[in-house]
């Protein structure tokens, strides 16, 4: 990887100081993704910081609540602007900060500059590794066939398509098989999934069919919202397919059971009554 890319823009020679925005979904539901992101960043020579964080404001923004979006954006800006980079293991939250924050504060003489500066140094995780840090391979092993779903915001707002495939190709034992319509929406759409559940269901059902038809054992993507939607549908259909965030595989952190699943050990341990030793 290029040496100069490792330097912090503020202090030449020092490791870049990366603020990890885990996203509210990863924070609450699946911390493994956050740790996988941190490992990938540290392996690439960054120091990783986790400032206090809640949500980027996307749910409010997409539901027309501009005031709450601005409040949450300001909170993000204040907490994350001291760092060299902001890295997000999600294309839609990354896109919210890098594409939509400047829109939210456009024309505001006090805040437009701050929003634009944060936007300029905010990146989705995988594209940050490849496009900014110049990472071309990872040292991970994953035995099996996987298929990759291109989440919409990452694909169309941020141009993320080749980057995850390039890194996945370097994972020992992994083979990538493309499914039909891998670039078509999974039907999640944030609150769309509950506001128009019936339509969302039809869309994700088709996604599940395409994923299963690929005969991959594991379905990967870069956005936890899409992943929870697809995993939820696959498991409702009784499919055995595993679903994981792409960062878990790239970081070799697949000891955590796939989304919506338990390992037999963990199940046994958790269901053991308190006070008894297994």
């Amino acid at each position: 990887m290029p040496v100069e890319s490792l330097a912090s823009p503020d202090q030449p020679g020092a490791a870049p100081r990366v603020a990890l925005f885990a996203t509210c979904l990863v924070d609450a539901m699946r911390p493994t993704v956050g740790f996988a992101a941190a490992k990938l960043l540290e392996d690439a020579g960054c120091t990783v910081h986790v400032p206090p964080q809640t949500c980027c404001g996307q749910p409010a923004f997409n539901n027309g609540d501009r005031q709450t979006s601005r409040d949450l954006a300001l909170q993000m800006i204040a907490a994350f602007e001291p760092y060299d980079y902001v890295v997000v293991p999600s294309g839609s939250c990354g896109g919210m900060i890098s594409k939509h924050y400047p829109e939210l504060f456009a024309g505001d003489p006090n805040l437009a500059g701050r929003a634009e500066r944060l936007a300029a140094k905010t990146f989705e995780l995988v594209s940050f590794l490849t496009d900014v840090l110049g990472v071309t391979s990872v040292s991970a092993t994953f035995e099996g066939r996987v298929t990759y779903h291109d989440s919409c915001s990452g694909l169309r707002e941020l141009g993320i398509q080749s980057q995850p495939r390039k890194l996945l190709a370097s994972v020992q034992g992994l083979s990538l098989v493309e499914m039909k319509d891998n670039d078509v929406c999974c039907g999640f759409g944030g609150t769309f999934a509950v506001k128009y559940g019936e339509i969302s269901d039809k869309i994700v059902s088709e996604k599940a069919v395409n994923a299963q038809a690929s005969e991959a054992g594991t379905l990967l993507a870069g956005d936890l919202g899409c992943l929870m939607n697809m995993a939820g549908k696959l498991s409702r259909k009784g499919s055995a397919m595993d679903v994981r965030h792409v960062a878990e595989v790239l970081a070799g952190m697949t000891a955590t059971p796939p989304i919506g699943k338990v390992t037999p050990d963990a199940a046994a341990k958790e269901t053991t009554p308190r006070g008894t030793t297994p």
């Binding site: 885990a22 699946r30 206090p52 404001g57 501009r66 759409g189 338990v262």
Partner: protein, 501 residues
């Protein structure tokens, strides 16, 4: 009053559509017929992206000076012997059309495919006033026989299969042999063509829409594949063009750039089969219509002079253009102005995962899919059409294929903002969002409460990876399982393992 809307019952419309197996089967044609062809056509034209940028600038410029171009266009049409009528709303547009028909004692009018005449509800109005409209575009003809509205802006009958069409033809074309074979698509086409040929010949007035109006020359353009539009506008004594104000383009050069995008984005053709330019009525000759053969060597100027002296050999005696506003001028200068760049190619709906599931009728008014979800609230009000801009996953595929680079998701979001400001969205959504925002604005309280909540959810789901039902999340779990969280939040675990960095 424009055409009737059922956009307010979008959810019920969509439920009905998705329960109709025949419809959902037929709708697969949208994905099969348009997506790959558009992609191929776009990829084969190296300057496609540059053309999109130019086309956007051409339309932005036109919209910024629309008043001037409309005036220039009107002057050019008048100079070429035609008439321009400005209609503020649907009612005026219908009345002007009827007056033209009555003046010439019209009994039958043929119609080329036109979304604007659908918007103003022209057919029902003409019929109620003793004038019979006959749709001559095959798709429009089929849905007219069925008393339906178009379900797609360039393929109005895309929701039907050929067996349904066969049964409609047998029901209506009772003068034909009952034992005829109509199993092939071509036999259906041949039959429609024969029936329509008679209509073309007896029509008193021909009504078309316009894909573009050119200010420089006072020309209207229609872009078609069947040739029916040409027969509609050339054979009757009177040609009426109905078009909305945003069809304006300054020059022939401008329109030739946009035309290179239109068919490629719509059907994946390089050009549609017919691109027809109409400028004024048939020109009368200064002399008798005797044709002198002329010599092979005569130059172009002389040839033109001779043509002027002789006059046109065909074309309508009267040429009228009705320019409709119907709410569009209110979009100028506002956050929905970009929507007026739309050239009605339908690429947005062809690529829309929601449209693919529910089809066009569920949207409840004339314009379906993403372009309709922005335009419909502008034209009939967000109170009536509030569902449409919400029924999108914001996947952005529409914007990525729009030849005019219209930021469709962004404008749907603007509608959601208007609804939020006016408290039009459901109370439960507002309270849910408000409660979430209360915590999200307070990072310490948020961290504490998510820590407790995730631990509780983990306990509740212990030993299982997923919930098949979850209190407060039934809208999710009705269709899919909800993953049990890992139990500890990322921030808490990070703090515990790494300390505060």
């Amino acid at each position: 009053m424009s055409a009737q809307s059922t956009a307010h019952s979008f959810k019920a419309n969509a439920t009905g559509a998705m329960a109709d197996a025949q419809l959902t089967g037929n709708l697969k044609a949208v994905r099969q017929n348009f997506i790959d062809k558009r992609a191929k056509a776009a990829s084969e034209l190296p300057e496609f992206e540059a053309l999109r940028e130019n086309a956007k600038e051409i339309k932005n410029h036109t919209l910024a000076h629309l008043d001037l171009y409309l005036e220039k266009y009107e002057a050019k049409v008048t100079a070429s012997g035609g008439y321009v009528h400005f209609a503020a709303d649907a009612e005026e547009a219908r009345q002007i059309t009827l007056d033209i028909c009555r003046k010439v004692g019209a009994k039958t009018v043929t119609k080329g495919k036109s979304m604007i005449t659908e918007e103003v509800g022209l057919n029902a109005f003409l019929e109620a006033n003793g004038v019979t409209p006959v749709e001559t575009d095959l798709g429009e003809y089929i849905i007219q026989l069925r008393g339906e509205a178009p379900s797609h802006i360039i393929a109005p009958a895309v929701h039907l299969n050929k067996e349904q069409i066969e049964s409609d033809f047998r029901r209506v074309h009772t003068h034909l042999d009952a034992n005829r074979d109509l199993t092939e698509k071509t036999s259906l086409l041949t039959e429609a063509r024969a029936v329509l040929r008679e209509k073309f010949l007896v029509a008193d007035v021909g009504i078309t829409g316009a894909n573009f109006l050119i200010a420089e020359t006072g020309t209207s353009i229609i872009v078609t594949n069947e040739g029916n539009g040409d027969l509609t506008q050339v054979l009757p004594k009177v040609h009426v063009v109905m078009a909305s104000i945003e069809k304006m383009v300054p020059t022939l050069e401008d329109v030739s750039q946009i035309l290179r995008l239109l068919a490629r984005s719509a059907t994946g053709q390089e050009m549609s089969v017919y691109t027809t330019l109409s400028t004024g009525p048939r020109r009368k000759g200064a002399f008798s219509s005797e044709v002198d053969a002329g010599s092979r060597e005569e130059n172009a100027t002389k040839k033109e002079a001779r043509a002027q002296a002789r006059g046109d050999v065909d074309g309508p005696e009267e040429y009228h253009v009705i320019i409709l506003d119907n709410g569009r001028s209110a979009m100028l200068g506002g956050e929905f102005q970009d929507m007026l760049r739309c050239i009605r190619c339908a690429a947005c709906m062809n690529h829309c995962p929601v449209y693919h599931q529910i089809g066009g009728h569920a949207y409840g008014w004339i314009y379906p899919g993403p372009m309709g979800s922005v335009l419909t609230p502008s034209l009939i009000g967000v109170d009536e059409a509030g569902h449409l801009p919400n029924a999108s996953t914001f996947c952005g595929r529409c914007e990525s294929v729009c030849p005019m680079k219209i930021p469709l998701p962004k404008m749907m979001r603007h509608w959601r903002e208007r609804e939020f400001e006016r408290n039009l969205n459901p109370a439960i959504a507002r309270y849910g969002l408000g409660l979430w925002a209360f915590f999200a604005r307070r990072p310490k309280l948020y961290a504490l409460s998510t820590r407790i909540a995730m631990k509780a959810m983990r306990l509740l789901g212990r030993g299982k990876g997923r919930f098949t039902w979850l209190l407060g999340a039934s809208a999710w779990t009705k269709y899919r399982d909800f993953a049990v969280p890992e139990g500890e939040t990322f921030q808490a675990k990070w703090k515990r393992e790494r300390g505060v960095k």
